[in-house]
Symmetry: C2
Subunit: 201 residues, 2 copies
């Protein structure tokens, strides 16, 4: 958290930029739930007045939208990378899974918020629709990798996609950035397990 701003600049310019407000808001949303978090609770956590928050964003819904955009923009950028768009489907799928893990770790609280959405507001439903589009594009890659013979055919492609996302998304529940396992090593481990299995060969 940034140091408290000098008193002289406090009114109207409370020492946070929008990104800092967003980061703290996402942390509060993840701890208490979006719906249970009022602008008053947010102001308390930021140590600024409610009117100072409105200096940065017009509403709680806008904070949510900005936060979810940050998660989704990152994920969608993986799919439009040239490495995701041409070549063998198997290699493209691996690239996308590695990229997804990297975004998930780099934007951990933002993706956590996205994954816990229930879809009760227009902003949430819009984000869930973008997430479903992302999921469908990965599912299409799974299908393509299966069709080219790279993936085993005794597991239903929908189950395959669900298990891949389940394995990757569950990382938000336990991974601590800065710990013993680097993001790159974790991505290696996930790719090794899901494609080659844990059994020693």
């Amino acid at each position: 958290m940034p140091a408290a701003p000098p008193a002289a600049t406090r009114r109207g310019r409370p020492g946070y930029d929008q990104q800092a407000v967003l980061t703290i808001a996402v942390d509060v949303f993840n701890r208490h739930g979006y719906e249970a978090t009022s602008m008053g609770v947010l102001a308390e956590n930021l140590g600024i007045s409610k009117s100072a928050i409105y200096h940065h964003v017009p509403s709680k819904g806008d904070l949510l939208r900005l936060a979810l955009d940050h998660a989704l923009d990152g994920l969608e950028a993986v799919l439009t990378d040239p490495a995701a768009m041409s070549g063998k489907a198997d290699a493209r799928l691996e690239f996308v899974l590695r990229g997804t893990i990297a975004v998930l770790i780099e934007r951990l609280p933002f993706v956590t918020l996205l994954l816990r959405l229930r879809g009760n507001t227009e902003v949430e439903r819009g984000a869930l629709e973008r997430r479903r589009t992302f999921d469908r594009q990965v599912a299409a890659l799974v299908d393509a990798a299966r069709s080219e013979g790279s993936l085993r055919s005794d597991i239903d492609p929908r189950t395959t996609t669900r298990l891949l996302f389940g394995t990757i998304n569950s990382i938000v529940e336990w991974y601590k950035p800065g710990g013993a396992v680097s993001p790159e090593k974790l991505a290696d481990d996930v790719i090794t397990m899901v494609f080659d299995g844990l059994h020693s060969t």
Copy 2:
């Protein structure tokens, strides 16, 4: 949901047994969150009076405890099955993972509730402690399977355990009992992916 009881028996014996009250309560907890659910909301969902709920259980905390016991008793029974207690660690681990998946599906809403706990009350903390003990016993099996040479050694055993639980626990987020994939086939698919990998051989 059971049919509404005849009006004559409504007072004091509202037509639900404790298990039926529990099943509906767990559903409401999962939809709205345990903390956000009052006894009044529960009574509304059950279509009975608050005092009729107290006929079955003394408090909301008791409902939570009964629900979490149902999930944890099922999981712990897997570990005390003879097939989990002797033989090659690799086979014991596979047995425990299959058993965990079976309990997770059979008691889906109960395990979902357990997995979403935040640990804000004594009952929740007690359940989380039992869950941690379960997790530690599975981690010990992973270590044993690695030591006997069955599991690859290039992935840290803690990461291995996290990924295994991540993959399995995420099933609660998407699996629909009664759908196209039977619990047994799903267990086969998970075991195939995590041990042998998705790549065709």
